[in-house]
């Protein structure tokens, strides 16, 4: 749980460009967590390196390590976008990158400054052929929305979303594909083509307002400020594009919130175009932007969409329910309407979707997959590790700390195999998510001894007490080998059981009631 003080701290950093004073009672670790949650790790570490506040000494090194991981991840993701674009181009399909990948290469100092959960491409034509092109190249479909389909890279590094439309309800905000292509720019990084700055700003606004109900992570709000500050925006052209796309209201709404949240410098002509209801909605909320517009706030999506589409509500209903095709690919109107009825029933029964949050890696699709576990935060560092574990037979990791000696020494390199590939067993040294972060500790209670659904227990070999109980999903991987000692097996079932008994005995010495609660996982 990130303290609200910590969110306020990182928000002030973004809005004012300098580190504020550390509020009383706020631990540096809280600032770190807030920066992770809001996608601002790289920006925070840059500010700390610049200003060197004494309170930050304990988090500089982990922040820098995370920034390096973010850089690797971002470069890999942008590379994935570039490869996917090349695949489409080879089939004669014109496509442009959207959002994060473009921003990371254009308006941020370095790619690590702009974390993203996936990369997005907009097919300007022949969307079904684009899907076929990706499938034939080995991409596997992982999710499908009305405006985009998500695919996993065959190399396993990430997710690419192929869009037929920037936001849900395709056609509601019509963007002219020919114009988008004509206005494209040449990229200087891995992406060879980029949308124009005006198109990019309009797309961001639509995404923020219509797709996410004006609730984004702070780094996504920072996108608006960076674009306005670092690109030359032709305001007249932007207004004309927004008018043609019937998107004046989303543009004005998103910019108004960006101004309130991160002090984006909004040119006066772009403030116009808000319907009265939308103005009423925004006015009180702009006074508390962090509470109302920064993830994990709950977006008032339905009301917002209705206000944004004042005067076009029938169109909103039609475009939301009647998709461009059925899931079976049937484009006939009768089939689409029939499917729309069943979809309307499903939507009416569906619980509220989780709030969008870039830092948790939730996709942008209209119907996002359920999070792995409610209330669980998945920081970027862990997400990167998960990607690697899912994609490779083993992942190499350097051990830090001495709590597992002599089984694992500080500085040794181990090969981890994911829990999905090899189910952890009692005695394994496992990589588990604890409250303090990821830990390499021994599994002392779990399969095959624990009954299905029971909580598992881990303990450091040199630790006195058991770690808190954890769910099976919190164990990400187990150690397969120690690099310099390939013949030694890191699994020791007997040592695990002795350790379990010692941990329980230690707890009994400290207090019987607690120990009894812990014995029963």
């Amino acid at each position: 749980m990130v303290p609200s003080k910590a969110r306020g701290f990182v928000r002030d950093l973004v809005a004012f460009g300098a580190l504020p004073a550390l509020p009383e009672g706020l631990a540096p670790a809280g600032v770190f967590e807030a920066a992770r949650e809001q996608g601002l790790v790289s920006l925070l570490v840059a500010a700390i390196e610049r200003e060197r506040p004494p309170w930050a000494a304990s988090i500089v090194e982990p922040l820098a390590a995370e920034r390096r991981a973010l850089l690797v991840r971002a470069l890999g993701q942008i590379g994935l976008a570039a490869r996917s674009l090349a695949l489409l181009e080879a089939r004669g399909i014109r496509a442009l990158p959207l959002k994060g990948a473009v921003l990371a290469e254009t308006v941020y100092d370095v790619e690590a400054d702009r974390p993203m959960s996936d990369v997005d491409l907009l097919a300007l034509e022949r969307f079904p052929d684009g899907v076929v092109a990706l499938r034939e190249a080995g991409f596997t479909e992982v999710d499908r929305g009305d405006h985009a389909w998500a695919f996993r890279d065959p190399a396993g590094h990430g997710i690419v979303e192929l869009h037929r439309s920037v936001v849900s309800a395709p056609g509601l905000f019509p963007l002219d594909p020919e114009g988008l292509w004509t206005r494209r720019r040449v990229g200087r990084g891995q992406l060879r083509v980029l949308p124009s700055a005006e198109d990019l700003l309009l797309q961001l606004a639509l995404h923020a307002a219509f797709q996410h109900g004006l609730v984004l992570s702070l780094v996504q709000w920072l996108d608006f400020r960076r674009l306005l500050e670092r690109e030359t925006i032709d305001v007249e052209r932007l207004v004309s594009l927004a008018t043609a796309a019937r998107a004046r209201a989303p543009l004005a709404a998103a910019l108004a919130v960006a101004e309130a949240t991160v002090a984006a410098p909004v040119p006066a002509p772009l403030r116009d175009g808000l319907p009265r209801g939308m103005r009423r909605f925004l006015e009180p909320r702009r006074a508390t932007p962090l509470v109302c517009f920064a993830a994990p706030a709950e977006p008032e999506l339905v009301r917002l969409r209705l206000e944004l589409l004042a005067g076009r509500r029938m169109a909103l209903l039609w475009r939301t329910l009647v998709l461009p095709e059925t899931p079976e690919g049937d484009e006939r109107l009768a089939s689409r309407v029939r499917f729309a009825f069943s979809r309307a029933l499903r939507l009416a029964r569906r619980p509220r979707p989780p709030s969008p949050n870039a830092a948790t890696g939730v996709h942008d699709l209209g119907e996002p997959p359920a999070p792995a576990a409610e209330g669980v935060e998945v920081p970027f560092g862990e997400e990167l590790l998960r990607d690697c574990l899912a994609s490779f037979p083993h992942v190499r990791l350097t051990v830090t700390g001495r709590c597992m000696e002599p089984a694992l020494a500080h500085g040794e390199r181990v090969h981890l195999v994911s829990a999905a590939r090899r189910r952890p067993r009692v005695g394994d040294v496992v990589l588990a998510r604890q409250k303090e972060g990821l830990r390499l500790h021994r599994l002392v209670w779990g399969p095959p001894l624990a009954w299905p659904g029971a909580r598992w227990r881990t303990k450091a070999d040199r630790g006195l007490l058991l770690d808190p109980p954890l769910a099976a999903a919190d164990v990400l991987a187990s150690v397969e080998t120690v690099e310099d000692r390939p013949r030694e097996r890191p699994r020791h079932a007997v040592r695990a059981l002795v350790s379990l008994v010692a941990g329980v005995a230690a707890r009994l010495r400290l207090g019987g009631a607690v120990a009894r609660a812990e014995i029963l996982p």
Partner: protein, 105 residues
Amino acid sequence: VSPRTRRRWLGQAFARSERVVARKIGEEFVLVPLAGRGADIDSILNLRGAAPFIWEQLDGTRTGEAIVDAIVERYEVERPQAAADYVELLETLHHLGAAVPAPRR
């Protein structure tokens, strides 16, 4: 590296590989392989001291000797030390595939 390899490298030009991206992030200068040992987070190289300067000099036209001259001039170190630093870094970069011998002109 052997004395022979060392002599060869000093007389030869090396170029930065296109498969590696260099980025200055804050006070760090890191090299990231874009392909290859994808899951090996340890393959990221953090350059310090004169290493970023040497990396910038690997343009495929300047020989090792010329780069050593540039190091001596910039950092005011003895030539043998500069040559040792250059060869040591080149060994790492070469092993990682980050620097490749430039075709002879």
